[in-house]
């Protein structure tokens, strides 16, 4: 009897170890809150009482300002947002994650960038990079609009004065 209990304990413990090894993306990154539009979250305020319509279509009544421009020929809204629980996002394997861990969803397709981001070399760096402060991480969504991620061109700052620009120059 004792032997069986030990074997079970062993399997249980190794299972836990194995799980922690596999799900390395479970570690928390110190990110700021996700950039939700004002008043949108929690989504379940509206969606808990609504019927789930899984038909792929263009939304006409709500969320009309969102133009999906992110592999839209291959996916639509409910491939990332969980249909049953709109407060969560949906990974490939069916796992549900919070919006504060949305990087895991992005990382499923954008593997190399996700690897870089985890190491701290992708994306904006601000604040402290070593003691006395801590590194700050930004969520993907802080810079890239998840529905239309490509950066828009922006107006550049003015060029330096040319040396021939008289008094202003040099």
């Amino acid at each position: 009897m004792q032997k069986i209990i030990y074997v079970f304990l062993l399997i249980f413990l190794s299972g836990i170890c194995f799980e922690s090894l596999v799900s390395s993306a479970d570690e928390e990154f110190p990110v700021s809150p996700p950039p939700m539009t004002e008043g949108m979250f929690p989504c379940s305020n509206c969606h808990a009482s609504m019927e789930v319509n899984r038909k792929q279509r263009e939304l006409k009544e709500e969320h009309t300002q969102i133009k999906l421009h992110h592999a839209e020929t291959m996916r639509w809204c409910l491939d990332c947002h969980d249909p049953k629980n709109r407060d969560k996002l949906r990974l490939f394997n069916g796992d549900l994650i919070n919006f504060t861990q949305s990087y895991r969803l992005c990382g499923e397709c954008h593997g190399p960038v996700f690897r870089d981001w985890r190491a701290g070399i992708h994306g904006k760096r601000t604040g402290y990079f070593m003691s006395p402060g801590k590194r700050t991480y930004y969520l993907c969504a802080h810079c890239h609009d998840p529905h239309e991620p490509k950066f828009r061109p922006i107006k550049p700052e003015p060029p330096p004065y040319r040396p021939t620009d008289g008094d202003h120059a040099k």
Binding site: P163, T164, A169, K170
Partner: protein
């Protein structure tokens, strides 16, 4: 005590007499000196403006950070080095015609060095921090910085070129034979020193890989070759003027010998230049950019092109004039050749050397630099200073050399005043 008082009286008398020598002269002399002083004062006033506003008052900027001042500095160090072409014939080969004028040549070198040092000083941003460069008192970066070497070399050469002529002149004044055991080592030292100052100036530019136009091994030989053209050419012209306005006796032989040396130096200069041009225009690497800018124009910028071609023409013509003995020995063509050399080498070594080093700049930008009025006037002011210093030195040195200004006069006066 008695001896000390006598020495003091003698020195004071000497000083007094030199002041009188300097203050008395012909109308031409006064006109010359006063115009030089006028240019000096104007230059100084403009320099004050630069000192107050900062170097933004010039046309230099981050792209071309050295301009007319450093161009003139380079040229004048070369001109100063040329005194060695007088020292070698007179003290090593005892060539008599040059031996008579070598002291005057050394004083010319000293004036040229003073001008060069003045050009560096006006180019400095913070003249109040010049003391930082003095060894031990400041913090001179010796031996890593070539500018530190240059400061030491220039001041050492200036010291030599003041010590030697003044020592010899004082001995002439006292009608005594110079102690050759004492002065000859200094004289012989001034020969490698002359080569050294210009080599160090060349190395200043040479050691910068950031400027491929300057980072060529041929730079130091080219500098020396062009220095030995320009300096003696100035000396030939100056000595003819001296011969005319004073009682100094300078033989034509001396001038012809110097001009022969210029011929060889100019050949070397032209040869080394063609070697550089071949290397750049045949290999056609990216580094050809500065050469293209000077000789052909780069991306539409061709300000320096007419200047450099004028300089090349003048140099070649001068070479031909100096090569052919007839034209070399005929004073009018000789003088024409000298003027060609002076201007041609000034363009080639001054603006035609310093400015293309900055075009294009390390990030590929092209800025065409022209000196503005302030820089021109300050430069003229410094040239006037050097010429005035040289004139005053000549005004004292020539009477001593020709035997007009000697100690015997003082002795006569003292004897006359002593109670019988």
């Amino acid at each position: 005590m008695e001896k000390l008082r006598d020495l003091f009286n003698e020195t004071w008398h000497f000083y007094k007499r030199t002041l009188i020598l300097v203050a008395k002269g012909s109308t031409l002399y006064y006109a010359w000196c006063f115009s030089l002083i006028a240019i000096m004062v104007t230059g100084f006033l403009f320099y004050l403006k630069q000192h107050e506003a900062g170097l933004i008052a010039t046309n230099m900027n981050d792209q071309v950070s050295w301009g007319l001042y450093i161009a003139n500095f380079t040229y004048l160090v070369g001109a100063a080095a040329a005194a060695v072409l007088l020292v070698i014939p007179s003290y090593v080969y005892h060539f008599k015609p040059i031996k008579e004028i070598v002291v005057l040549g050394e004083l010319f070198a000293a004036s040229a060095i003073v001008m060069a040092i003045l050009f560096v000083i006006v180019d400095l941003g913070r003249i109040d921090r010049v003391w930082h460069m003095i060894p031990f008192i400041g913090s001179m970066n010796f031996p890593q910085s070539l500018l530190a070497w240059d400061v030491l070399a220039l001041n050492g050469y200036l010291f030599l070129n003041l010590l030697i002529p003044i020592y010899l002149l004082v001995k002439f004044y006292y009608r005594k034979e110079p102690n050759w055991k004492f002065i000859l080592p200094f004289i012989l030292l001034s020969i490698p020193m002359a080569v050294a100052i210009h080599t160090v100036t060349a190395f200043l530019y040479n050691g910068l890989p950031a400027r491929p136009f300057w980072n060529a091994s041929i730079l130091a030989p080219r500098f020396l070759a062009s220095a030995f053209c320009s300096g003696p050419a100035i000396i030939i012209i100056i000595f003819q003027i001296i011969r005319k306005v004073s009682t100094s006796h300078i033989e034509d032989e001396a001038l012809f010998k110097i001009s022969e040396l210029i011929a060889y130096a100019m050949f070397l200069n032209l040869f080394l230049l063609s070697a550089e041009l071949f290397k750049e225009f045949y290999s056609q690497t990216v580094h050809i950019a500065s050469f293209r800018y000077v000789f052909q124009g780069l991306h539409g910028h061709n300000q320096l092109v007419p200047w450099i071609w004028a300089a090349m023409t003048m140099n070649v013509l001068a070479f031909i004039i100096f090569l052919i003995p007839t034209t070399r020995k005929w004073l009018s063509t000789l003088n024409l050749g000298c003027i060609f050399v002076i201007i041609g080498v000034w363009i080639e070594k001054g603006p035609g050397f310093v400015i293309p080093g900055f075009v294009p700049d390390p990030l590929g930008e092209i800025f065409e630099y022209i000196p503005n009025l302030l820089e021109l006037i300050v430069s003229f002011g410094i040239w006037a200073t050097g010429l005035l210093i040289f004139t005053l030195l000549m005004k004292v040195a020539i009477p001593i050399e020709t035997g007009k200004f000697t100690h015997t006069e003082y002795e006569k006066e003292v004897m006359a005043l002593r109670p019988r």
